[in-house]
Symmetry: C2
Subunit: 204 residues, 2 copies
Amino acid sequence: MPRPRSNLEELLLTTAAELIATEGVDSLSLRELGRRAGVSRAAPYHYFTDKAELIARVGALGFRRLGERIGAAAEVSVDPLIRLRDGLLAYIEFARAEPHFFQLMFSGALARERPDDRGEAAGLAFSSAEARGAFATLIDGVRDAQAAGVLRDDDPLLIVNVLWAYTHGIAVLADRHLKYERGTGAVFEAGFNALVEHYGILPP
Amino acid sequence: MPRPRSNLEELLLTTAAELIATEGVDSLSLRELGRRAGVSRAAPYHYFTDKAELIARVGALGFRRLGERIGAAAEVSVDPLIRLRDGLLAYIEFARAEPHFFQLMFSGALARERPDDRGEAAGLAFSSAEARGAFATLIDGVRDAQAAGVLRDDDPLLIVNVLWAYTHGIAVLADRHLKYERGTGAVFEAGFNALVEHYGILPP
DNA sequence: TCTGATAACTTGACGCTGTCAGGTCGAATG
DNA sequence: CATTCGACCTGACAGCGTCAAGTTATCAGA
């Protein structure tokens, strides 16, 4: 007599996310997932077409969490440039705190989802609505800084692309590759200042 | 009557590399590898302790190839800054041409190998001798540019870290995430110029 | 209250996988 | 000629994703 189960789909998603966060996506098996969720190994097939779709859904969850962290970090200060910097630092911190999530999100395992038109129209191609939302804050941040007159009035999309790529590189390489005596934070700061100074309004 | 086999280890490595390059590391199975190499499924265990080590060896091969491409690209010009730029562009082009290799090299699947001391002493932590060699050209490029007086005499390791992180971010995000109307190359150029201008000798 | 349908699972089975113990066999060594 | 040894093969095992075919609880309609 099986007990009634509520919201199994959400339970599967969060359980899978937990498993991936702690052991990595390669250690996720549907059978272990079923075991932990208290259902059979084939139960996920009622909510996801296959394992790849389940993983893609977890990836979307990761983008949502990343977006939340960026948004929260960018709310602290009132200085537009500091807000921008804090948002990017939150990006790097997310990669450090959730390495398996971050890896998954940018690994191509989510390739099944096609970039949608709204994202493309905004000049950034994302694999999901969640991914797009994660960066809305950064785009707004650049526009705010421009409106405040502390960032030159260059194409904001170009500036966002440059800053994002730089930040992403730091985030990916920080834990195993970059090594600077004064720390990864000093590396980020140096490049960020260089980029902002270039795009910024030079002192008269 | 098994025919005599020469250099099976190398054959296994190159066959595995080919399989990974075309189908990705997840599609590599020891059984298929044995089939293609004309040996049994367990033959690789005489040269590699397990599948993970085989993959790590393929990753090291990837770093060697990346190093060759960077070196070749940085040999074309005599202008130190252009040599540096061309080396970084070769990095991006490698990621575009060999996405599965590039993914593998920075995926953490090579985590078993520990960074060695020479790499650490140079200020950069690499997972293998091959990885270290791949970037020797870039470090030299920064030092050359400094010697030629076209890059400010800041800490060269800081400059390399910043340029590398930026380039890596572009390489990772280029195919699926970055989208700028004038192309990824324009994004790279904008950031590169900004960084070089900052670290460069300003016009009088 | 009975009938039938449907949603929400489970079970059995298939072929695939990495790994290992134990075998085979030719070449080298004493 | 006997022994050892490197190089590889075979059989076997547990775990995997996936699918067809069940099973059971719930509920609508007559």
